[in-house]
């Protein structure tokens, strides 16, 4: 049986979405206020959802520690670091305090930029492993990639000025055909899926099948 709450959620989703959509075309102050507020509300609700995540994470790691399962010391490190951030944040009551800034720029910032930069290494291994001219499609892909690289790196223009010029032709062609087509397709696909969810035809994103 579909619970009444579930039905209510579907109705609310419909009302919220339609309000936001109408706000996009109709000039009305009240509507605009409602839409702005709804948008802010979503952010606030999402902040509460963090508690679900924290609960799930903490129970899992506390279980690992209490059972002394494989790798339990790592769980202690995880919970320890988390506690440090929570305590520093709540004691200094701001995320711009010197102390908070220090732990943030010592831990999160360097690891984040390192992880981001690791892309360069994985691009290298993928270039070697995956860029094989197995067929015409793959060949076209890697030829385009090589010319764009020669366009971007200063060395390409030094070897020969025609290389960047060819790269530019590929780049413009890609932007005007493939990328345009992809963007248009994404727009249409988003409308189709949103429509199905808003009209309660697709029920999964609102959370599983009904029990």
């Amino acid at each position: 049986m579909v619970s009444i709450w579930r039905r209510a959620a579907e109705v609310i989703l419909f009302i919220v979405a339609v309000t936001m959509l109408v706000d996009f075309v109709v000039e009305m102050d009240m509507l605009q206020n409602v839409a702005t507020d709804l948008n802010r509300w979503a952010t606030i609700i999402a902040a509460f959802a963090l508690g679900l995540g924290a609960y799930s994470l903490l129970t899992r790691h506390i279980r690992i520690i209490s059972r002394k399962s494989e790798g339990w010391p790592y769980s202690i490190a995880m919970i320890g670091t988390m506690t440090v951030f929570l305590l520093t944040g709540f004691i200094t009551r701001s995320i711009t305090s010197d102390q908070y800034n220090w732990i943030y720029s010592t831990i999160i910032q360097p690891i984040s930029s390192t992880m981001y930069g690791m892309n360069a290494f994985f691009i290298a291994s993928a270039s070697y492993r995956a860029f094989r001219a197995r067929n015409w499609e793959a060949a076209l892909l890697l030829v385009a990639a090589i010319f764009i690289m020669l366009k971007n790196a200063p060395i390409g223009g030094v070897i020969s000025p025609t290389l960047p010029a060819i790269g530019k032709v590929f780049w413009d062609l890609a932007g005007a055909t493939g990328m345009r087509g992809i963007l248009i397709g994404i727009g249409i696909g988003t409308l189709a899926l949103s429509l199905r969810i808003i009209l309660a035809q697709e029920k999964t994103p609102l959370g599983g099948a009904e029990e």
Binding site: Y128, R129, P154, P161
Partner: protein, 281 residues
């Protein structure tokens, strides 16, 4: 015996190809950083546009440097900012107005001023002023173009604008000689809309690589006088002002790494075709 050993070596090399590639990349990136090779860098017309315009400035001219720099785009845009600021600081009598479009940007602006010893080289309030963060996005920019004194009363350091001698002569966008906007967002068009369109103030952009395609259209249409493109543009600028820094050093690393990628693709394909023909046999 020996061939067996050889086989196992090539086999284990084949299995550890990832680690070898990572090591190669690490080395090829580190060497130019430790000892710059100085590979030639071709200078783009768009970068030269910015350089020549600044080079032609006369005493009394006012340069507005607008910044939207934050941690996300700093690696690409901050070196451009440093290079251009250095160039403008070298021009005697040219006044510099620094404005920021995000809450994070003022920190980077101050960092740049300190890195270039601006406070010792020039006198604050007479040669340059750091306005700080201007809230309100496009309407904020429209506000300073219309009447800067009515929108902003105090600068970043808390001085009243009316106390600063330089600001006495600067009232609206007609007093700005050029505007250079360092950003990665739609802000670039804001200056075009609010300063170039109504007042004819000339505008140039310093951008991240992704934003360049949009801006090229403005350049070809003659609406902006230059674009500095990503780290590459910063390197070109550093070379133009003969002050090779992080970007120029990075360019060697960029060139070598790109060549390595191309080499890897080529080697990968050679191995692929060789093994295919062997299998056919």
């Amino acid at each position: 015996m020996r061939s067996e050993q050889k086989l196992s070596l090539s086999k284990s090399l084949g299995r550890a190809y990832r680690q070898i590639i990572y090591l190669l990349l690490f080395i090829s990136l580190s060497i130019p950083l430790i000892k710059p090779i100085g590979l030639p860098v071709p200078i783009h017309e768009t970068t030269l546009g910015v350089y020549n315009t600044i080079e032609a400035l006369e005493p009394g001219d006012v340069v507005v440097m607008a910044s939207n720099i934050g941690a996300a785009i700093a690696s690409e845009v901050y070196p451009q900012y440093i290079a251009v600021l250095e160039h403008v600081l070298r021009k005697d009598g040219v006044k510099i107005l620094l404005v920021d479009h995000s809450t994070e940007a003022p920190i980077w602006t101050e960092k740049a001023l300190e890195e270039l010893n601006a406070y010792e080289r020039k006198s604050y309030g007479e040669d340059f002023v750091h306005i700080g963060f201007i809230p309100g996005g496009e309407s904020g920019i429209a506000g300073i173009c219309r009447d800067i004194h009515s929108l902003i009363q105090v600068d970043y350091h808390g001085y009243s604008l009316s106390e600063l001698p330089m600001m006495a002569e600067i009232r609206d966008a007609t007093d700005f000689t050029i505007v250079i906007d360092f950003s990665a967002s739609a802000d670039t068009q804001f200056w075009l809309n609010q300063a170039y369109a109504p007042y004819g103030t000339r505008v140039a952009f310093g951008l991240t690589a992704v934003k360049v395609p949009d801006a090229v259209a403005y350049y070809t249409a003659g609406q902006i006088f230059g674009i500095i493109e990503s780290l590459k543009g910063a390197a070109e600028y550093e070379i133009l002002i003969k002050r090779p820094g992080i970007a120029a050093k990075g360019m060697d690393a960029q060139s070598i790494a790109h060549l390595l990628y191309i080499g890897l693709i080529v080697v990968g394909n050679i191995i692929f075709f060789v093994s295919k023909t062997q299998r056919k046999r």
